[in-house]
Protein backbone atom coordinates (compact mmCIF):
# COMPACT_ATOMS: atom_id res chain seq x y z
CA UNK A 1 0.00 0.00 0.00
CA UNK A 2 1.12 3.54 -0.74
CA UNK A 3 1.58 5.92 2.16
CA UNK A 4 -0.62 8.36 0.25
CA UNK A 5 -3.52 5.91 0.54
CA UNK A 6 -3.49 6.09 4.33
CA UNK A 7 -3.76 9.87 4.55
CA UNK A 8 -7.53 10.31 4.49
CA UNK A 9 -8.21 7.57 7.06
CA UNK A 10 -5.64 9.10 9.35
CA UNK A 11 -6.88 12.61 8.70
CA UNK A 12 -3.21 13.33 8.02
CA UNK A 13 -1.50 16.20 6.27
CA UNK A 14 1.84 16.01 4.45
CA UNK A 15 4.39 18.36 5.99
CA UNK A 16 7.40 17.33 3.96
CA UNK A 17 8.26 14.96 1.12
CA UNK A 18 6.08 12.90 -1.17
CA UNK A 19 3.81 10.17 0.24
CA UNK A 20 3.94 8.24 -3.05
CA UNK A 21 6.03 5.54 -1.40
CA UNK A 22 5.29 1.96 -0.45
CA UNK A 23 4.57 1.46 3.25
CA UNK A 24 5.11 -1.92 4.91
CA UNK A 25 4.05 -2.13 8.51
CA UNK A 26 4.21 0.34 11.32
CA UNK A 27 6.27 1.00 14.40
CA UNK A 28 5.16 3.10 17.32
CA UNK A 29 7.60 4.57 19.78
CA UNK A 30 8.74 7.87 21.20
CA UNK A 31 12.14 6.53 22.14
CA UNK A 32 14.75 7.08 19.47
CA UNK A 33 17.09 4.20 20.31
CA UNK A 34 14.11 1.91 20.44
CA UNK A 35 13.19 2.93 16.91
CA UNK A 36 16.79 2.45 15.81
CA UNK A 37 16.68 -1.03 17.29
CA UNK A 38 13.28 -2.24 16.19
CA UNK A 39 11.69 -0.28 13.35
CA UNK A 40 11.86 -2.01 9.97
CA UNK A 41 12.88 -0.17 6.83
CA UNK A 42 9.78 0.81 4.89
CA UNK A 43 7.57 1.02 7.99
CA UNK A 44 5.56 4.04 9.05
CA UNK A 45 6.93 5.40 12.30
CA UNK A 46 4.32 6.92 14.59
CA UNK A 47 5.47 9.30 17.30
CA UNK A 48 4.63 12.51 19.04
CA UNK A 49 8.25 13.66 19.05
CA UNK A 50 8.99 16.60 16.78
CA UNK A 51 12.63 17.30 17.47
CA UNK A 52 15.10 17.24 14.57
CA UNK A 53 16.60 14.00 15.84
CA UNK A 54 13.39 12.35 14.63
CA UNK A 55 14.50 13.19 11.09
CA UNK A 56 18.00 11.77 11.64
CA UNK A 57 16.61 8.53 13.01
CA UNK A 58 13.99 8.23 10.27
CA UNK A 59 16.63 8.75 7.58
CA UNK A 60 19.00 6.23 9.13
CA UNK A 61 16.30 3.58 9.32
CA UNK A 62 14.90 4.26 5.84
CA UNK A 63 11.35 4.31 7.16
CA UNK A 64 8.56 5.09 4.70
CA UNK A 65 7.59 8.13 6.72
CA UNK A 66 6.95 9.61 10.13
CA UNK A 67 3.43 10.24 11.38
CA UNK A 68 3.40 12.88 14.08
CA UNK A 69 0.33 12.57 16.29
CA UNK A 70 -1.79 14.82 18.53
CA UNK A 71 -1.61 17.64 15.99
CA UNK A 72 1.94 18.50 16.89
CA UNK A 73 3.94 20.57 14.44
CA UNK A 74 7.70 20.37 14.00
CA UNK A 75 9.30 23.77 13.64
CA UNK A 76 10.43 25.06 10.23
CA UNK A 77 14.09 24.10 10.73
CA UNK A 78 13.02 20.49 11.30
CA UNK A 79 10.81 20.55 8.21
CA UNK A 80 13.73 21.92 6.19
CA UNK A 81 16.00 19.17 7.47
CA UNK A 82 13.39 16.56 6.57
CA UNK A 83 13.23 17.94 3.04
CA UNK A 84 17.02 17.86 2.82
CA UNK A 85 17.20 14.26 4.01
CA UNK A 86 14.19 13.24 1.94
CA UNK A 87 12.17 12.16 4.94
CA UNK A 88 8.38 12.15 4.58
CA UNK A 89 6.68 13.86 7.52
CA UNK A 90 2.94 13.62 8.16
CA UNK A 91 0.86 15.18 10.88
CA UNK A 92 -2.47 14.07 12.29
CA UNK A 93 -4.76 15.48 14.96
CA UNK A 94 -5.46 11.90 16.13
CA UNK A 95 -3.84 10.57 19.28
CA UNK A 96 -1.24 7.84 18.90
CA UNK A 97 -3.81 5.29 20.14
CA UNK A 98 -6.43 6.40 17.59
CA UNK A 99 -3.87 6.44 14.77
CA UNK A 100 -2.68 2.97 15.77
CA UNK A 101 -6.27 1.70 15.60
CA UNK A 102 -6.74 2.96 12.06
CA UNK A 103 -3.34 1.68 10.95
CA UNK A 104 -4.06 -1.75 12.38
CA UNK A 105 -7.02 -1.98 10.03
CA UNK A 106 -5.18 -0.52 7.05
CA UNK A 107 -1.83 -2.27 7.05
Amino acid sequence: MKLADTLSRLDARVISGSPEVEVRGCYISDLLSDVLAHARPGALWVTLQTHRNVVSVAAMKDVAGVLITCGRQPDPAVVAKAAEEEVVLLSTPLTTFEAAGKLWELL
Binding site: S33, R52, S56, M60
Partner: protein, 317 residues
Protein backbone atom coordinates in the same frame (compact mmCIF):
# COMPACT_ATOMS: atom_id res chain seq x y z
CA UNK B 1 46.38 7.40 -2.00
CA UNK B 2 45.71 10.13 0.53
CA UNK B 3 42.51 9.83 2.49
CA UNK B 4 39.89 12.46 2.04
CA UNK B 5 39.09 14.20 5.29
CA UNK B 6 36.02 16.18 6.14
CA UNK B 7 35.40 18.06 9.30
CA UNK B 8 31.75 18.24 10.29
CA UNK B 9 32.15 20.23 13.48
CA UNK B 10 29.16 22.51 13.75
CA UNK B 11 30.02 26.15 13.31
CA UNK B 12 29.77 28.19 16.42
CA UNK B 13 28.38 31.22 14.66
CA UNK B 14 25.28 29.18 13.91
CA UNK B 15 24.44 29.76 17.57
CA UNK B 16 23.34 33.36 17.16
CA UNK B 17 26.27 35.40 15.85
CA UNK B 18 25.53 36.34 12.26
CA UNK B 19 28.15 36.21 9.57
CA UNK B 20 28.14 40.01 9.34
CA UNK B 21 28.77 40.22 13.08
CA UNK B 22 31.61 37.75 12.79
CA UNK B 23 33.09 39.72 9.90
CA UNK B 24 33.27 43.03 11.76
CA UNK B 25 35.52 41.30 14.23
CA UNK B 26 37.58 39.51 11.61
CA UNK B 27 38.13 42.31 9.13
CA UNK B 28 40.66 45.06 9.76
CA UNK B 29 40.73 48.69 8.81
CA UNK B 30 43.36 47.81 6.21
CA UNK B 31 40.84 45.50 4.52
CA UNK B 32 38.33 48.30 4.11
CA UNK B 33 40.29 51.54 3.68
CA UNK B 34 41.02 53.34 0.43
CA UNK B 35 44.72 53.00 -0.35
CA UNK B 36 44.87 55.09 -3.49
CA UNK B 37 45.41 58.33 -1.67
CA UNK B 38 45.06 61.88 -2.90
CA UNK B 39 47.33 63.93 -0.70
CA UNK B 40 48.59 67.47 -0.81
CA UNK B 41 51.67 69.16 0.53
CA UNK B 42 51.59 71.87 3.22
CA UNK B 43 52.39 74.58 0.67
CA UNK B 44 49.49 73.74 -1.65
CA UNK B 45 46.70 76.29 -1.59
CA UNK B 46 43.25 75.46 -0.26
CA UNK B 47 41.98 76.37 -3.73
CA UNK B 48 44.05 73.62 -5.36
CA UNK B 49 42.84 71.20 -2.70
CA UNK B 50 39.26 72.18 -3.42
CA UNK B 51 39.85 71.34 -7.11
CA UNK B 52 41.42 68.03 -6.12
CA UNK B 53 38.33 67.17 -4.06
CA UNK B 54 36.03 68.09 -6.90
CA UNK B 55 37.98 66.14 -9.48
CA UNK B 56 38.17 62.94 -7.42
CA UNK B 57 34.88 63.33 -5.54
CA UNK B 58 36.50 63.10 -2.14
CA UNK B 59 35.72 64.94 1.05
CA UNK B 60 39.06 65.00 2.82
CA UNK B 61 42.69 65.40 1.79
CA UNK B 62 45.60 64.47 4.10
CA UNK B 63 48.47 66.89 4.11
CA UNK B 64 51.77 65.02 4.09
CA UNK B 65 55.50 65.40 3.85
CA UNK B 66 57.40 62.21 2.90
CA UNK B 67 54.36 60.10 3.79
CA UNK B 68 54.31 61.56 7.31
CA UNK B 69 50.88 62.93 8.15
CA UNK B 70 50.92 66.62 9.09
CA UNK B 71 47.23 67.40 9.00
CA UNK B 72 43.93 67.05 7.22
CA UNK B 73 41.88 69.42 5.08
CA UNK B 74 38.25 68.45 5.01
CA UNK B 75 35.39 69.70 2.90
CA UNK B 76 34.19 71.59 5.99
CA UNK B 77 37.53 73.44 6.14
CA UNK B 78 37.12 74.43 2.47
CA UNK B 79 33.57 75.72 3.01
CA UNK B 80 34.80 77.70 5.97
CA UNK B 81 37.74 79.15 3.94
CA UNK B 82 35.44 80.20 1.10
CA UNK B 83 33.14 81.81 3.60
CA UNK B 84 35.94 83.67 5.37
CA UNK B 85 37.83 84.57 2.21
CA UNK B 86 41.10 82.74 2.78
CA UNK B 87 40.73 80.09 0.13
CA UNK B 88 44.10 81.06 -1.37
CA UNK B 89 46.02 80.40 1.86
CA UNK B 90 48.41 77.47 1.94
CA UNK B 91 47.05 74.26 3.50
CA UNK B 92 49.41 74.41 6.47
CA UNK B 93 47.82 77.68 7.62
CA UNK B 94 44.30 76.27 7.90
CA UNK B 95 44.47 72.49 8.08
CA UNK B 96 43.40 70.50 11.09
CA UNK B 97 46.63 69.59 12.83
CA UNK B 98 46.93 66.31 14.71
CA UNK B 99 43.73 64.86 13.28
CA UNK B 100 42.36 61.80 15.02
CA UNK B 101 43.69 58.80 13.15
CA UNK B 102 43.00 55.09 12.95
CA UNK B 103 45.58 52.35 12.75
CA UNK B 104 45.45 49.87 9.91
CA UNK B 105 45.27 46.93 12.33
CA UNK B 106 42.08 48.10 14.10
CA UNK B 107 39.13 45.75 13.72
CA UNK B 108 36.10 47.17 11.95
CA UNK B 109 34.20 47.01 15.24
CA UNK B 110 36.67 49.42 16.71
CA UNK B 111 36.54 51.56 13.57
CA UNK B 112 32.75 51.84 13.79
CA UNK B 113 33.08 52.80 17.46
CA UNK B 114 35.55 55.57 16.54
CA UNK B 115 33.14 56.94 13.94
CA UNK B 116 30.42 57.03 16.58
CA UNK B 117 32.70 58.65 19.13
CA UNK B 118 34.10 61.48 16.98
CA UNK B 119 31.47 62.09 14.36
CA UNK B 120 34.06 62.78 11.63
CA UNK B 121 33.31 61.73 8.08
CA UNK B 122 36.73 60.19 7.51
CA UNK B 123 39.88 59.17 9.29
CA UNK B 124 43.44 59.01 7.97
CA UNK B 125 44.93 55.56 8.58
CA UNK B 126 48.49 55.07 9.83
CA UNK B 127 50.51 51.89 10.08
CA UNK B 128 52.67 50.95 13.05
CA UNK B 129 55.53 53.05 11.62
CA UNK B 130 53.28 56.14 11.65
CA UNK B 131 53.23 56.18 7.86
CA UNK B 132 50.03 57.30 6.19
CA UNK B 133 48.69 54.24 4.38
CA UNK B 134 45.06 55.06 3.66
CA UNK B 135 41.88 56.87 4.49
CA UNK B 136 38.62 55.37 5.67
CA UNK B 137 34.96 56.45 5.63
CA UNK B 138 31.80 54.74 6.89
CA UNK B 139 30.98 53.97 3.27
CA UNK B 140 34.25 52.03 2.97
CA UNK B 141 33.23 49.87 5.93
CA UNK B 142 29.83 49.07 4.48
CA UNK B 143 31.42 48.38 1.11
CA UNK B 144 33.98 46.00 2.60
CA UNK B 145 31.30 44.11 4.54
CA UNK B 146 29.14 43.71 1.47
CA UNK B 147 32.10 42.56 -0.57
CA UNK B 148 33.17 39.97 1.97
CA UNK B 149 29.65 38.72 2.60
CA UNK B 150 29.32 38.17 -1.12
CA UNK B 151 32.63 36.35 -1.28
CA UNK B 152 31.68 34.11 1.65
CA UNK B 153 28.37 33.33 0.01
CA UNK B 154 30.09 32.39 -3.23
CA UNK B 155 32.58 30.28 -1.31
CA UNK B 156 29.76 28.47 0.48
CA UNK B 157 28.04 27.72 -2.81
CA UNK B 158 31.28 26.44 -4.30
CA UNK B 159 32.00 24.23 -1.27
CA UNK B 160 28.51 22.84 -1.39
CA UNK B 161 28.96 22.00 -5.07
CA UNK B 162 32.29 20.31 -4.35
CA UNK B 163 30.69 18.36 -1.58
CA UNK B 164 27.86 17.18 -3.78
CA UNK B 165 30.38 16.13 -6.40
CA UNK B 166 32.35 14.29 -3.72
CA UNK B 167 29.25 12.42 -2.64
CA UNK B 168 29.87 10.22 -5.65
CA UNK B 169 33.50 9.32 -5.06
CA UNK B 170 35.23 8.39 -8.28
CA UNK B 171 37.80 6.35 -6.41
CA UNK B 172 35.81 3.66 -4.66
CA UNK B 173 38.62 2.47 -2.44
CA UNK B 174 39.92 5.80 -1.30
CA UNK B 175 39.85 6.21 2.43
CA UNK B 176 37.32 8.72 3.66
CA UNK B 177 37.71 10.25 7.11
CA UNK B 178 34.90 12.18 8.73
CA UNK B 179 35.41 13.86 12.02
CA UNK B 180 33.40 16.14 14.22
CA UNK B 181 33.78 17.80 17.55
CA UNK B 182 30.84 16.86 19.77
CA UNK B 183 29.69 19.31 22.40
CA UNK B 184 27.88 18.39 25.58
CA UNK B 185 24.19 19.23 25.41
CA UNK B 186 24.25 20.17 21.73
CA UNK B 187 21.20 18.12 20.69
CA UNK B 188 20.62 20.27 17.63
CA UNK B 189 23.82 19.22 15.93
CA UNK B 190 23.36 15.50 16.48
CA UNK B 191 23.35 13.33 13.42
CA UNK B 192 25.42 15.42 10.99
CA UNK B 193 28.22 12.90 10.79
CA UNK B 194 25.83 9.96 10.49
CA UNK B 195 24.05 11.76 7.70
CA UNK B 196 27.27 12.29 5.77
CA UNK B 197 28.38 8.73 6.46
CA UNK B 198 25.10 7.50 5.07
CA UNK B 199 25.63 9.50 1.86
CA UNK B 200 29.12 8.14 1.36
CA UNK B 201 28.16 4.52 2.00
CA UNK B 202 25.20 4.90 -0.28
CA UNK B 203 27.35 6.33 -3.05
CA UNK B 204 29.72 3.40 -2.65
CA UNK B 205 26.88 0.99 -3.09
CA UNK B 206 27.23 -0.53 0.38
CA UNK B 207 24.35 -2.83 1.22
CA UNK B 208 21.61 -0.90 3.10
CA UNK B 209 21.62 -3.14 6.19
CA UNK B 210 25.37 -2.68 6.61
CA UNK B 211 25.07 1.03 5.96
CA UNK B 212 22.37 1.25 8.64
CA UNK B 213 24.50 -0.55 11.19
CA UNK B 214 27.41 1.83 10.63
CA UNK B 215 25.29 4.98 10.85
CA UNK B 216 23.44 3.76 13.94
CA UNK B 217 26.74 3.21 15.76
CA UNK B 218 27.94 6.70 14.86
CA UNK B 219 24.65 8.24 15.94
CA UNK B 220 24.32 6.37 19.23
CA UNK B 221 27.95 7.08 20.12
CA UNK B 222 27.45 10.75 19.29
CA UNK B 223 24.23 11.17 21.26
CA UNK B 224 25.84 9.45 24.23
CA UNK B 225 28.62 12.03 24.18
CA UNK B 226 26.08 14.84 23.87
CA UNK B 227 23.94 13.56 26.73
CA UNK B 228 26.33 11.89 29.12
CA UNK B 229 29.81 13.34 28.54
CA UNK B 230 31.61 16.63 28.80
CA UNK B 231 32.16 16.59 25.05
CA UNK B 232 34.52 14.79 22.74
CA UNK B 233 35.40 13.80 19.25
CA UNK B 234 33.70 11.48 16.78
CA UNK B 235 35.55 10.00 13.82
CA UNK B 236 34.35 7.68 11.11
CA UNK B 237 36.82 6.19 8.66
CA UNK B 238 35.52 4.51 5.56
CA UNK B 239 38.16 2.13 4.29
CA UNK B 240 38.12 -0.38 1.49
CA UNK B 241 36.72 -3.20 3.58
CA UNK B 242 35.39 -1.62 6.78
CA UNK B 243 34.01 1.41 8.51
CA UNK B 244 35.74 2.30 11.75
CA UNK B 245 34.01 4.53 14.24
CA UNK B 246 35.77 6.08 17.18
CA UNK B 247 34.22 8.18 19.89
CA UNK B 248 36.55 9.66 22.44
CA UNK B 249 35.23 11.91 25.16
CA UNK B 250 36.67 13.93 28.01
CA UNK B 251 34.82 12.21 30.80
CA UNK B 252 33.30 11.67 33.27
CA UNK B 253 33.47 8.01 32.21
CA UNK B 254 31.03 5.16 32.78
CA UNK B 255 30.95 3.88 36.31
CA UNK B 256 29.72 0.37 35.62
CA UNK B 257 30.15 -0.64 32.01
CA UNK B 258 28.36 -3.99 32.38
CA UNK B 259 25.32 -2.21 33.73
CA UNK B 260 25.50 0.44 31.01
CA UNK B 261 25.54 -2.23 28.29
CA UNK B 262 22.31 -3.67 29.65
CA UNK B 263 19.15 -2.89 27.74
CA UNK B 264 16.99 -0.39 29.59
CA UNK B 265 19.65 1.06 31.86
CA UNK B 266 19.87 4.82 31.55
CA UNK B 267 20.94 7.80 33.59
CA UNK B 268 19.63 10.30 31.03
CA UNK B 269 18.17 13.45 32.56
CA UNK B 270 14.74 14.97 32.01
CA UNK B 271 15.65 17.15 29.01
CA UNK B 272 17.21 14.24 27.11
CA UNK B 273 14.18 12.09 27.95
CA UNK B 274 11.81 14.73 26.70
CA UNK B 275 13.58 14.61 23.36
CA UNK B 276 13.22 10.85 23.10
CA UNK B 277 16.55 9.73 24.50
CA UNK B 278 17.05 7.61 27.57
CA UNK B 279 15.58 4.26 26.53
CA UNK B 280 18.86 2.75 27.65
CA UNK B 281 19.20 1.08 24.29
CA UNK B 282 22.03 3.02 22.68
CA UNK B 283 24.94 0.86 23.80
CA UNK B 284 22.99 -2.37 23.16
CA UNK B 285 22.21 -1.04 19.67
CA UNK B 286 25.89 -0.37 19.13
CA UNK B 287 26.82 -3.85 20.29
CA UNK B 288 24.23 -5.43 18.01
CA UNK B 289 25.48 -3.42 15.04
CA UNK B 290 29.22 -4.00 15.24
CA UNK B 291 31.51 -6.68 13.94
CA UNK B 292 34.07 -5.61 16.49
CA UNK B 293 33.60 -3.46 19.54
CA UNK B 294 35.92 -2.16 22.17
CA UNK B 295 34.84 0.24 24.89
CA UNK B 296 37.22 1.50 27.50
CA UNK B 297 35.99 3.78 30.17
CA UNK B 298 37.38 5.01 33.39
CA UNK B 299 36.54 7.90 35.63
CA UNK B 300 39.93 9.54 35.10
CA UNK B 301 40.13 9.58 31.29
CA UNK B 302 36.60 9.34 30.02
CA UNK B 303 35.16 6.92 27.51
CA UNK B 304 36.77 5.63 24.33
CA UNK B 305 34.68 3.60 21.96
CA UNK B 306 36.08 1.80 18.94
CA UNK B 307 33.72 -0.04 16.63
CA UNK B 308 34.17 -1.68 13.26
CA UNK B 309 31.68 -2.73 10.66
CA UNK B 310 32.83 -4.93 7.80
CA UNK B 311 31.57 -3.82 4.43
CA UNK B 312 31.44 -7.32 3.01
CA UNK B 313 29.31 -9.73 4.98
CA UNK B 314 31.62 -12.15 6.78
CA UNK B 315 32.15 -15.33 4.75
CA UNK B 316 30.92 -18.53 6.24
CA UNK B 317 33.85 -20.43 7.82
Amino acid sequence: MNPRTENLTPRRDAAGVSLAQALVYELRVRDAMTCRLRTASPRDSLRSIQLLMKEHRISGVPITRDSALLGLVSIEDIVHALDQGHINDPAEARMTRHPVVMRDHYSLVRAVAEFDRFDFGRFPVLDVGDRLVGIITRGDITGALMHHLERRAEEAVRKEAERTAAAVPDEPHRRFILNAEVRAGDFDSAGKLSQRLRQILRARGVEPSIRRRATIIAYEAETNMIIHSLGGRLTATVGADRVTIEAVDQGPGIEDLDLAMREGWSTAGPLARKLGFGAGMGLPNIRRSTDQLDIKSDLANGTRLHAEVLLQPARAP
